[in-house]
């Protein structure tokens, strides 16, 4: 009886909203970013928000809510009122934080809206390094397991784990707080190599302060066409990160359609693509259904790796 009342109440809520969907959006839309202002996720969100405003006819206000590797902001986004006025920028962390027991929400707590960006990992060394190829790095690690120092941007590091599990090697992982710490550690010679997203190190790569050895992707990057993929070098390692948009579960379908349409248009807007290309940030757009399959596959792909991490803890 109580359940029925609840369903009824929910239904009226949903249909009640639907009645207003014709005027959606009637006020500011909040884009929740689960990382701090000034970082990569923030930059993508702000560029996208600026392009989306035109298509929504309302301001899109970016709100940073950092903490717990994104868990704090993404949880708030999942728990927000499902009226379409809170959109969350979800990142690959949503695929592994719950499995690690570091977040109570999972991708299923969201209505996934669209994938926006995907970046491969790129392996970097100093220009004077004794390593001249991905092969050199792996051979050295195979010859003396645990001797090659990897400057890690976060722990657990799924780029390194992909490399280690694929090639059955072991590196000495030195954990840092993000690329902003790991990159100077590599430049100063305190670690032997690192793997980051190209956008995080493009300044140093372009200035010749760091040397890229390989991209963990099937195809070469448009922004760095001279850097070979790891697959080309005989090591089929594909890993990276992605960012997309999500709504709280139960958002009315027509509201979702308005947002999906606006953000799809925004993602192909010249200002946005120009910004992304300029920062070597990859654009990969997927609609809701496709994005959901993509995330489900990623969760499955990360399951084994997460088990490995838990063993190491």
């Amino acid at each position: 009886m109580k359940k029925a009342a609840l369903v009824l109440a929910l239904a009226s809520l949903i249909f009640g909203n639907a009645a207003f969907a014709a005027d959606f959006p009637a006020k500011n839309i909040r884009l929740l970013v689960p990382f701090a202002a000034g970082g990569g996720t923030d930059a993508v969100a702000r560029a996208l928000a600026a392009s989306a405003e035109k298509h929504l006819g309302q301001p899109v206000v970016v709100m940073n809510k950092a903490g717990g590797s994104g868990a704090v902001g993404m949880t708030e986004g999942a728990m927000a009122k499902a009226d379409g006025y809170t959109v969350t920028m979800v990142t690959r962390e949503i695929a592994w934080l719950p499995q690690m027991g570091l977040a109570q929400i999972t991708p299923d707590n969201f209505d996934l809206l669209a994938l926006i960006n995907e970046d491969p990992a790129i392996m970097l060394v100093r220009p004077d390094s004794k390593f001249a190829s991905v092969k050199d790095v792996l051979e050295a690690a195979k010859a003396a397991p645990g001797s090659v120092k990897f400057g890690s941007t976060a722990k657990p590091n799924f780029y390194l784990l992909a490399l280690e599990l694929n090639q059955k090697v072991k590196f000495n992982q030195i954990p840092y707080n993000g690329a902003a710490e790991a990159i100077p550690a590599l430049m100063g010679g305190h670690v032997d190599f690192t793997m980051v997203n190209p956008g995080e190190a493009i300044s140093q790569i372009k200035a010749g302060q760091l040397k890229p050895l390989g991209v963990a992707s099937d195809v070469r990057m448009a922004g760095l066409p001279e850097v070979p993929t790891m697959t080309e070098q005989g090591y089929p390692i594909v890993t990276g990160t992605w960012r997309g948009l999500a709504l709280p579960k139960g958002t009315p379908a027509d509201v979702k359609a308005v947002l999906a349409d606006a953000f799809q248009k925004a993602a192909s807007e010249k200002e946005f693509t120009g910004f992304m290309n300029g920062r070597t940030l990859g654009i990969r757009f997927m609609k809701s259904e496709e994005f959901k399959t993509f995330v489900d596959n990623d969760v499955k792909a990360l399951t084994d790796i997460v088990e490995e991490v838990k063993k190491q803890q």
Partner: protein
């Protein structure tokens, strides 16, 4: 380079730029002075406003806020015993004591002059030797960071006031709370009790606001119907003399260099620089025993040190493309959103912007000095306001500040909890600064010690084989020894 700088000056004074610099510096001073609002927050909050602007005015505005706010924090530290920013936590020690003697105007003028000196010296260093500084900063690996953090922690002994034991207890408490959050090596949650908001540990800003601003407001509330703050009784309007300024110059320049150096090391910022400067000034001063009782050197040192960071923190930003502290991390984001490439390429591709920034740092520091000195009288009026007006304002601003750093209600509760802790500590005559120092340096010491052990595959030999690290560990021992001697001679 000179012609580039002159071009930069021309840009700075152009009608499209100069107003932004004035707004930035003035706004920065206000943001810094308001308890609860910090330099990082000011720059972060205004960042989105700059997206629609041209690159140069955007950077000039943000840089102006940065230098203004680092200075502005000292105003409330001196007048209200409430550091406006973490960088001003060390300024409370002598600044408030001097103000309590009725010499608030002297304290404020020292702070303005020292901040100006710090900013100017560090800008000169930034322009002339930033590649050298950057190369030196890169030599800082985990062992060096660990040694620097240990040196920083040894300063607890010199900021503990009358009772080193109480200071040590406060420091231990600070270290304890700095262990809350995800383990830096294994990412395993520690002392979080399943509370997701604690995964990153206690944020420093709400802790600072609670311990200083709220706790002080609670203490003052007891005497809310007394006429006003304790300061006004024998209020003197005079600022410091030229002779005194010249006498302070060596200290200020030395601390400005310390600040520049610490700023240029990625990950160490104005808060650490202020404490290290205070400690060094006290150690080398002839009147070390006067520190903590309201001496001019005790204000000049941390203020020159923290504004010294402003130029220093730009060194890695402009030469390596990595941020030097929390504020320059946001500036890095600003550069990226402006479509610029931070790092050495900026000098070759956008020299006009870089030199425009350099010139505006010079001009901005001069503006800061002028506004600071002209404002002394106005600022002093704050303490003449009745407490029943000031205290509610401070409490409101504290809550706004605690919330707005990360848009977090949880942080407001953290702030209130530390307000109560700070109140109890004041009643027990325990110093609060050691907690702040420990919360800033504890994670730095821990994660770098563990990183270093990983790098050395389990060996601790880095403690005596890395020269820079050995120097800092020796400085830590020296700092402890001189505090010990001072305690025993008095």
């Amino acid at each position: 380079m000179v012609s580039l700088l002159l071009d930069g000056l021309r840009t700075t004074f152009s009608p499209g730029i100069f107003p932004f610099l004035v707004i930035g510096v003035t706004g920065g001073i206000v943001i810094g002075a308001l308890p609860g609002l910090t330099a990082t927050m000011g720059v972060a909050v205004l960042l989105p406003l700059t997206f629609g602007m041209e690159s140069t005015p955007a950077l000039v505005l943000l840089a102006g806020i940065y230098i203004g706010a680092i200075y502005g924090g000292s105003i409330s530290a001196i007048l209200l015993k409430t550091p406006g920013t973490p960088a001003a936590a060390a300024t409370v020690l002598d600044g408030y004591e001097l103000a309590r003697k009725g010499e608030a105007a002297r304290a404020l003028s020292v702070s303005a002059i020292a901040s100006f000196t710090g900013g100017m010296v560090s800008t000169v260093m930034l322009i002339t030797i930033s590649p050298i500084l950057a190369n030196f900063a890169l030599r800082f690996g985990a062992p060096e960071y660990f040694a620097l953090a240990v040196f920083g922690l040894s300063i607890i002994a010199s900021i503990s006031g009358k009772s080193p034991v109480k200071g040590l207890l406060a420091g231990m408490f600070g270290l304890l709370i700095s262990t809350v959050g995800l383990d830096p090596v294994t990412s395993f949650p520690r002392f979080t009790f399943g509370e997701m908001n604690l995964f990153n540990g206690f944020a420093i800003i709400p802790v600072l606001i609670g311990l200083f601003a709220l706790a002080e407001a609670f203490v003052q509330m007891e005497k809310i119907f007394e006429p006003s703050h304790a300061i006004e009784t024998n209020f003197k309007r005079g600022m410091i003399s030229l002779k005194e300024t010249i006498a302070l110059m060596p200290t200020m320049i030395k601390c400005a260099l310390i600040g520049t150096f610490i700023g240029s090391i990625p990950g160490a910022g104005a808060d650490i620089a202020a404490f290290v400067s205070y400690n060094e000034a006290r150690r080398s001063s002839k009147n070390g025993s006067e520190f903590g009782t309201g001496c001019l050197e005790g204000i000049a040192a941390p203020e020159a040190g923290n504004n010294g960071v402003t130029g220093g923190a730009m060194v890695p930003l402009l030469t390596l493309g990595v941020p030097g502290d929390a504020v320059t991390a946001i500036l890095l984001g600003a550069l990226i959103i402006q479509g610029l490439q931070p790092g050495p390429l900026l000098f070759t591709k956008n020299a006009d912007i870089v030199y425009g920034l350099f010139a505006s740092l010079f001009v901005g520091n001069i503006l800061m000095l002028i506004i600071g000195l002209l404002g002394v009288r106005l600022f002093c009026r704050v303490v003449e306001l009745p407490k029943r007006f000031i205290i509610p304002v401070i409490i409101t601003l504290s809550m706004v500040g605690a919330y707005s750093m990360n848009n977090s209600i949880f942080d407001m509760w953290v702030c209130v909890a530390f307000g109560v802790i700070g109140y109890i500590m004041q009643k027990a005559d325990m110093p609060s600064s050691p907690i702040i120092l420990a919360v800033i340096l504890g994670p730095m010491a821990e994660s770098n010690l563990r990183r270093a052990v990983l790098m050395y595959e389990g060996s601790y030999s880095f403690l005596w084989t890395r020269p820079i690290g050995v120097v800092f560990l020796a400085l830590a021992a020296l700092s402890l020894y001189s505090s010990y001697r001072r305690a025993h001679s008095s």
